[in-house]
């Protein structure tokens, strides 16, 4: 037998009972097991634009970028081939157009490989290319070569069109 209780007492009693109820301790693990979340990105793999920017950091980054540009420019200048002297290419073209009789700047001579009418009118239409070619390739150009040294490369300068056509060639020591 129990005494009758008021509504307020009843609600208070029920609230106390309910507030003592706890979810099972393994419930969170069950939730996470069903969730199977995507792995969180590691800080090392964080994207640059997500990193916290601060003024010193931005300054260091800007100075580093500027230093890289300067060093790169200097390296490019050191490695670039020396620019042709004004009129040098024109002189070489005129020299080559004179054929084997024309004197070279270093004493060698250009050998024409195409008829004169196919020579370009402007010096800018031809390029002087320094290369090494196997001796036996001289026969392809219609030039004599020593079969005893067919496997040895020969240093040469070739005047070429942009299309790759070789206009003239001369051999350099």
């Amino acid at each position: 037998m129990t005494d009758k209780i008021s509504l307020a007492q009843a609600l208070q009693r029920a609230a106390l009972d309910l507030n003592a109820a706890e979810p099972p301790p393994q419930l969170l693990a069950a939730v996470q097991a069903r969730w199977a979340p995507q792995p969180v990105a590691k800080p090392a793999a964080a994207k640059l634009h997500l990193l916290p920017w601060t003024w010193p950091g931005a300054a260091v980054a800007a100075m580093s970028a500027l230093a890289l540009v300067l060093v790169g420019s200097v390296l490019l200048m050191l490695q670039a081939p020396p620019a042709d002297q004004p009129g040098q290419q024109q002189q070489q073209l005129a020299q080559a157009s004179q054929g084997p009789q024309g004197p070279g700047a270093d004493g060698s001579r250009f050998v024409n490989l195409v008829p004169p009418e196919r020579w370009p009118r402007e010096a800018s239409a031809a390029w002087l290319v320094r290369t090494e070619i196997p001796s036996h390739r001289l026969a392809v150009l219609g030039l004599p070569f020593d079969p005893a040294h067919a496997d040895q490369p020969v240093r040469a300068e070739m005047l070429m069109r942009a299309s790759g056509e070789v206009l003239a060639v001369r051999f350099v020591p």
Partner: protein
């Protein structure tokens, strides 16, 4: 201009910290941060579980519904709209749907009645002497009276229609604001007030008649 903050001294915040706002935690959950989900669970799980437990009286069902609510939140964290209510109300609403689905699955006309008395179904009043606040009782007589009165109250509550019991659990037992309770129950605020008044009257009548006393 922003203040000078060296990198190594810049404050580092983790999304799962106890003071993190809900939106920050949800954004972290969306990125797969399990610690953020655990923090949300720590904040909200008790209330969700107690709501479903008070509603159905079945610990297993309540746990399943609570689990479902957090799984839904974890998989679609951006589905929560803070402008429509608190995160606790959202979770309780999801759990309520899950609980209703369980009821429908067993095809019970009044599942609350059917499952209060099922074997293994936990009754909040069954906590008895193991109850935390019961441990502070001064004597065995106090424990007995408290257990008996608790059983009497819950026996009366389980006789109420589920919608009446729901508003009593939300407002009188969990002390949720009316607006939040109405949102969870999916009813208008005026409907909640009316229903709550009728539920109290009916519970009082049951207690007065002693029909809630299991030992009569």
């Amino acid at each position: 201009m922003m203040p000078f903050v060296p990198w190594r001294h810049a404050p580092r915040r983790t999304a799962a910290s106890a003071a993190a706002p809900v939106a920050e935690l949800l954004a972290a959950v969306a990125k797969g941060d399990a610690a953020a989900l655990a923090e949300i669970y720590r904040r909200e799980a008790q209330a969700v579980y107690r709501y479903t437990f008070g509603l159905c009286g079945n610990a297993g069902w309540a746990a399943d519904a609570t689990q479902e609510a957090f799984v839904v939140l974890a998989t679609r964290p951006l589905g929560f709209d803070a402008t429509r209510g608190s995160l606790g109300a959202y979770l309780a609403g999801v759990a309520r749907h899950a609980l209703a689905a369980t009821w429908r699955a067993v095809k019970a006309e009044d599942p609350l009645h059917d499952h209060w008395a099922q074997d293994g179904a936990a009754d909040p009043a069954d906590n008895g002497a193991d109850h935390p606040h019961a441990a502070s009782a001064a004597s065995p007589e106090d424990l007995l009276v408290r257990a008996q009165s608790g059983q009497q109250v819950w026996a009366a509550l389980r006789q109420l229609p589920a919608p009446f019991r729901e508003v009593l659990v939300l407002v009188d037992l969990q002390e949720r604001p009316y607006a939040e309770a109405a949102r969870i129950a999916g009813i208008e605020l005026n409907t909640l007030r009316t229903r709550l008044h009728r539920a109290r009257l009916k519970l009082a009548a049951l207690l007065d008649a002693g029909t809630g006393d299991l030992h009569d």
